[in-house]
Symmetry: D2
């Protein structure tokens, strides 16, 4: 892992496992719709999937702050400002989605 690597690199396998599970949830939802399952039960699964996705996002963001942002802030200069602005915009998108 080099100096410039992204924050999530060290837990790449963990993220891939969680995203594969989320992909499985998307397939499970299709089966529920195909099998005419009850709307409320489908909605419960959609909420669970949304939570799982949100949790991946919060993990990625934490890794990003801990690595890319801290590194840029320590180095100083305009790069730090850019990284903070990017992070703030990403946070706003998450809070509003």
């Amino acid at each position: 892992m080099n100096e410039e690597a992204h924050g999530y690199i060290s837990s790449k396998d963990d993220y891939l496992k969680r995203l594969r599970r989320i992909e499985g949830q998307a397939r499970g939802l299709q089966r529920m719709v195909e099998d005419d399952k009850y709307c409320i039960d489908i909605l419960t699964q959609v909420s669970a999937m949304t939570k799982a996705l949100q949790s991946v996002a919060l993990g990625l963001l934490d890794d990003h702050l801990n690595h890319c942002v801290v590194r840029a802030a320590a180095a100083g200069g305009p790069e730090a400002d850019i990284k903070i602005q990017e992070a703030s915009e990403a946070i706003a998108r998450l809070v509003r989605s």
Copy 2:
């Protein structure tokens, strides 16, 4: 489509198409992680996927209110109360997720 069919039945194909696209987004996220893409770009995709999922949920809920809930309310009795309570709980889960 019978009397008792779920609200989303008439747009089943549309929901399946949207869920397949969401499944594709989950696979796309795995590729981004595997290819060491920039954290912020991954987060942007996660927000897009969350919005798509939320939109499916709002559609299902609207169909549910329009069909199952209206039918139960028209019939009256305890079934109506149960349906409304179920719907309220599903809404709370969506708002809080």
Copy 3:
């Protein structure tokens, strides 16, 4: 309480009490900013206030479904469709805010 009364009427005092508490939280936040409190502590209070507000919204919505929507659905006709559409739009605004 007449036939046409809104759903929340029977618990009006409870809603007023909760909204007064929320108003108090808004004043508390102003004091925190005036006293230069630590940003993270202010954010914790903002999250608490947002949750309190969300909980009022979910309560109002539940009352609305249980009264206005059920009454309109039982009566049938175009009024029921309008009520459901209004409710769906209100739910979408809550989920997205």
Copy 4:
């Protein structure tokens, strides 16, 4: 403004103005409930108030990242880790509220 001042200090007046407006929205909601306004109209105001509150939170968080977190990261050491963890937890509370 000293070195250690919180990030939001320079825009304290702006935050106070926004929080006073939010306090006014809380009072407006009480009037609506007292006057038996239509539930859906109350919910629309609740959504507007939630958005205003969320926007204050995102502003405070951005200021915090730009000042407290950047300063701690530049200084290095355990303080930086603590600041990032605090910020991540605040973000998680916002995303989940």
